[in-house]
């Protein structure tokens, strides 16, 4: 805030000391008002009448005087104070001049009535706010329980099952026992019977030594599990055929290929 005494500007000295005291008594600090409506409400209280009977015209004049003084004191005024000043000046002219029938819009009286309503409403809110804060308050005037007990949230889970669940569960185990091995093993297991069937059909055409591995069926030498299973089955089947006297079997060396050939007929036929 600028102090007029130290102002180099000549116009500030125009204010007499008493003027200044009067102005400061009114103004003190613009920051103390929460906006123009607050200021207007404060000013209206000086009329010491019921807000409903307040003279808006007088109030407008007081406000404009306040703004003028504040300007003289070079107080920083927020824009909304100036907007309100302009609006009140307009309202004042409306209230003072006879209504212009050509002009649209609300009359000065309507505008004044609304301003009076706003002031009354704000005053009422201040009043009830004070009443509210004046009430007995929790933790100040009355108190809640000091020792509280937490409510334990116990989640109780009950399990249930129906007779059908039970039956199905049981049937599931039993069926699993009976059929599961077949279902499980069919994919990658070749049985000796399968190999035997296969070899019986093929052996008639093998007059000379042939690698056992060539008897493996198509698609059974692709992955190791299937290869192992089919090799074992085929080997077992070939031993069975040797036992039956249908073929001969030989292996040249350790880990050398196993070879089989059709055994010459005792009759001498090949």
């Amino acid at each position: 805030m600028s102090d007029p005494d130290f102002d180099t500007d000549g116009e500030s000295t125009v204010l007499s000391v008493s003027d200044r005291v009067a102005a400061e008594a009114l103004i003190v600090d613009v920051g103390a008002y929460e906006g123009p409506l607050d200021l207007l409400l404060t000013l209206s209280r000086t009329q010491k009448v019921d807000l409903r009977q307040i003279s808006i015209l007088a109030l407008a004049e007081q406000y404009l005087a306040f703004v003028d003084k504040a300007k003289e004191l070079r107080l920083e005024l927020a824009a909304d104070y100036l907007v309100m000043a302009a609006w009140l000046a307009f309202l004042k002219s409306r209230l003072l001049l006879p209504p212009d029938p050509q002009e649209d819009g609300p009359s000065g009286e309507e505008l004044a009535a609304h301003l009076a309503f706003q002031l009354e409403r704000l005053a009422a809110m201040r009043d009830v706010a004070a009443k509210l804060m004046g009430r007995d308050q929790l933790g100040r005037d009355f108190f809640a329980r000091g020792i509280t007990e937490d409510v334990q949230r116990v989640r109780k889970i009950t399990y249930t099952a129906s007779l059908l669940d039970l039956m199905q569960g049981y049937a599931r185990i039993r069926t699993k026992d009976d059929f599961r091995p077949f279902v499980m093993d069919r994919e990658a297991v070749m049985t000796m019977e399968q190999a035997l069937d296969r070899m019986r059909g093929m052996i008639g055409f093998a007059g000379d030594w042939t690698d056992l591995s060539s008897y493996l069926p198509d698609g059974w030498n692709s992955d190791s599990v299937r290869t192992r299973s089919s090799t074992a089955a085929t080997f077992a089947a070939s031993l069975e055929l040797v036992k039956e006297g249908k073929i001969e079997i030989r292996q040249g060396d350790m880990f050398a290929p196993i070879q089989v050939r059709k055994r010459a007929d005792p009759d001498g036929k090949t």
Partner: protein, 214 residues
């Protein structure tokens, strides 16, 4: 341990027992306990609402009262004995004038939008003011207003009512007088009526307000 909740085969406990139960549950909690929760926690078939009537009478004039806050109940010490409780007094955060006024406006005009609060106070409401009230759990968001922009509304909470010893927001001091004086109406400034008549914004607001406070 008793497991009364499932025992619908058994009769509800005698009313004297139910009183004891309500008493124990409410004593154990610092916060109000809703009737619904009481029903949920008490044995099947209990009627805590009736038990509360008796219990309330029993505590009349005592050092501790049974108070009602909306649909919930709590024990609170009698306000005239507050002077004994310096030790328990909690420092309530000092509220600014702006916060106190905003709180009052929310309480008396709820549900109220930020623009309406600003219109009533004649200044813009800083974000922090409403945040502070929400933080204190005295104010919360209400339904959005069905007007253009669908602005958020604010309403007061059960904690607010509890704090100020109000059974519900109808009991706000001076509410009837304010309404009778027309000071709770949302009166648009002259010259803006045309705009407001276009949509039913006004009707909606009045209706919502009445719903919230009646």
């Amino acid at each position: 341990m008793a497991k009364p909740e499932n025992d619908s085969l058994f009769e509800a406990p005698p009313m004297g027992e139910q009183e004891r139960m309500v008493e124990a549950i409410l004593f154990a909690s610092a916060d109000p306990v809703s009737l619904k929760e009481l029903i949920g926690r008490m044995p099947h078939g209990s009627d805590p609402a009736e038990a509360i009537v008796y219990l309330r009478k029993k505590y009349e004039g005592r050092g501790v009262h049974l108070v009602k806050i909306e649909d919930a109940y709590a024990f609170r010490t009698a306000p005239d004995l507050g002077f004994l409780m310096q030790k328990e007094t909690v420092e309530v955060r000092k509220l600014s004038r702006a916060a106190i006024e905003t709180l009052a406006i929310v309480a008396y005009h709820q549900p109220v939008t930020r623009a309406e609060i600003e219109e009533i106070r004649g200044v813009s409401v800083s974000r922090g003011t409403i945040d502070q009230l929400i933080d204190m759990e005295w104010v919360r968001f209400g339904r959005r207003r069905m007007t253009p922009g669908r602005p958020a509304t604010f309403v007061v909470t059960q904690e607010f009512l509890d704090h100020f010893g109000l059974e519900n927001s109808r009991d706000l001091p001076g509410l009837k007088e304010l309404r009778a004086a027309g000071l709770l109406e949302n009166r648009p400034p002259p010259g803006t009526e045309v705009l407001d008549d276009e949509d039913d914004a006004d009707d909606d607001q009045v209706e919502m307000f009445e719903e919230g406070t009646e």
